[in-house]
Symmetry: C2
Subunit: 348 residues, 2 copies
DNA sequence: ACGAATAATACAACCGGTTGCATTATTGAC
DNA sequence: GTCAATAATGCAACCGGTTGTATTATTCGT
């Protein structure tokens, strides 16, 4: 049986409260007493019971983390990196992570996330993939639980941390344009995610700044999965072969795009350049290595925790927004177009 | 303030215990009373406080999960899939997941894992990547906490769930041999992991059964990361160019191997065939798609939980071992060798 | 109609901590 | 030497549940 405060108190002929205070560093206990207590604690390996402490203090030192992975949803390695960073930083701040994976019921149901939030087991929560009108926001506010989104939340009263989606996309697409690409396709993320919109806007802005017009025929909606990128690319190729580059709004979709292009007999980057977004480590191991926009995944993870901690300790109820810079990461998947316009033989 | 048992009791002029028992389905409370209680609970949205319950029952309905990801270690998408499956199954059984990411101190320290295990916050623990003489086993046994490994643990008294590493590797390598490959290199995992040994043994067995001898010159130790696979492959290529196939002991190392081969100017599969292990979804998106041994990741996840639940409820203190079948997943990264022996021009 | 069996509920201790306040011991001032 | 201030510790309530046992109300047999 693991020793309790009471055990220590009995051994030392003290009261629970004194022992508790000694351990908590309360200046009211005499130095000599504290020393006896600490020595004994060390000796018998006393470790406070976090559950009991949680009940007494109503703080669990635990953070809820909602990650989009589950048997139904394809998993994006991005989130494993993120998870690692969050876990590490949380530990540094003395917090544990309680996980909520995606709902198995799918259907965009957030039941498991909300149950975790409302369970009185966590002090705060980290949410990912904010949606345009995210229903979770209302529910979380009602619960009066501090929370932070990874990704831009629409509601200005919500705290979030995000990479510079718009700016990063714009910069990278501009790079494609500078290389001479005139018709750049885009495979977007799911419409309801704010990140999709922002990256697409970056794409649009780059085109606009170059005086190019947006052509809806070479834009297709993906879903941030490999399979989605593959399908989206195929649908574009079906009726439109006159493109020289593709911007996929995340790396795993870019993998799908590359596969679709290969299957269509197109060479990367000779026939079509491909650009991703996220900068997951695997991007460098593609053939050819995928040019992408590197998000500072580690910093995103640490910042999310820092912001959340601030919110949890914070008297300041004011929301915090952090945009972290992203970086264009060039690689062999992009090159100048081989011909001025269109590269696919057989184009009209 | 969220309502408590006492609140409900006061409203209904009952005692805490009656309300508690009604909610727990104790047959001693009258049906009519139970109905009043359930109605009120529904109405005011009563939800029992898991922390208080945990203190009282000494069961937290939480499972600890140690996943190898963190800022120091490269992350294997395999574990994100696994995480999803585990999370989903855990939820079905009414358990939450408390995460322990890799230690940031590296050095193979398992401090954070052990702290979680010893924290009295979890009812059982899932550990990954068992090592040959895994120090965690001793510590966990001392703590008297049920636990299950993903992967074969050496100690026969420890429960584990694993894919058929040896059999799967043997079968797949045999397939390479049947295709006519005479010199098959192998990039192993870290020596201290049991999975590495088993997969390597499968490789050896396949060679032996075909009457081929093991050549240490074309075996290199990787570390289950892309970079490790890359480096290992390069070191093999340095002094040994007479190979026609490579078996990498997991998929992400295979990605590194493919990169190293490409950089050496070798075509896959024309010059060298590549075989992986794990069957992560990304394997199909490589160029060429990577042949691999598909582990039933979902089933591994669900089985791990099932076994752990059995251990936690279990009167039977006897360990449970489950080997799940794996499946060779052919793909274009393997093909018959173009020449009888060796494919690299310039070989002696 | 009475005692025993049974059904329904209440009481109180407990899980292992934290914390406001009371109590005791020590010290210093005058 | 007395009293107030101060230091050190103890008491007891509390967090929100669970659970063993006591208590009260009802039913039944005879």
């Amino acid at each position: 049986m693991r020793p309790t405060l009471q055990d220590m108190a009995s051994i030392l002929n003290l009261s629970k409260s004194t022992v508790s205070r000694a351990l908590a560093g309360d200046p009211r206990v005499a130095e000599v007493t504290r020393h006896r207590i600490l020595t004994l604690a060390q000796q018998i390996g006393y470790r406070p019971n976090p559950v009991a402490r949680g009940l007494a203090t109503r703080r669990t030192n635990t953070i809820g983390l909602a990650v989009p992975c589950g048997p139904r949803s394809f998993s994006d390695p991005f989130y494993l990196e993120f998870l690692g960073a969050v876990g590490d930083t949380a530990m540094k701040y003395g917090y544990s992570l309680l996980l909520s994976t995606a709902d198995s019921d799918g259907a965009g149901g957030y039941r498991s996330h909300m149950e975790l939030a409302d369970s009185a087991r966590i002090d705060g929560m980290i949410l990912t993939e904010p949606k345009v009108a995210d229903e979770r926001v209302r529910m979380l506010k009602e619960m009066d639980l501090p929370f932070v989104f990874l990704g831009v939340a629409q509601d200005p009263n919500v705290s979030w941390v995000s990479g510079d989606n718009r700016g990063g996309a714009a910069k990278a697409v501009t790079r494609l344009i500078e290389l001479g690409h005139m018709r750049i396709a885009c495979v977007t993320g799911p419409r309801d995610q704010t990140a999709s919109g922002a990256r697409f806007e970056g794409y649009c802005r780059a085109l606009a700044e170059a005086g190019m017009s947006l052509d809806r025929n070479i834009v297709a909606a993906g879903d941030f999965t490999q399979a989605g990128g593959y399908i989206a690319m195929r649908s574009i190729l079906e009726h439109e072969k006159d493109i020289s580059a593709v911007f996929a709004c995340n790396d795993v979709m870019a993998f799908g795009v590359m596969r679709a292009l290969r299957e269509a007999g197109l060479l990367i980057p000779n026939d079509v350049s491909v650009l991703g977004f996220d900068g997951i480590p695997l991007a460098r191991y593609m053939d050819p290595p995928l040019a992408t926009v590197r998000q500072p995944i580690l910093e995103l993870g640490t910042t999310v925790i820092e912001v959340l901690v601030e919110q949890m300790n914070g008297k300041s109820g004011c929301p915090i927004h952090r945009v972290l810079p992203v970086e264009f990461q060039p690689a062999c998947s992009i090159a100048p177009p081989e011909r001025a316009s269109g590269s696919v033989s057989g184009a009209v």
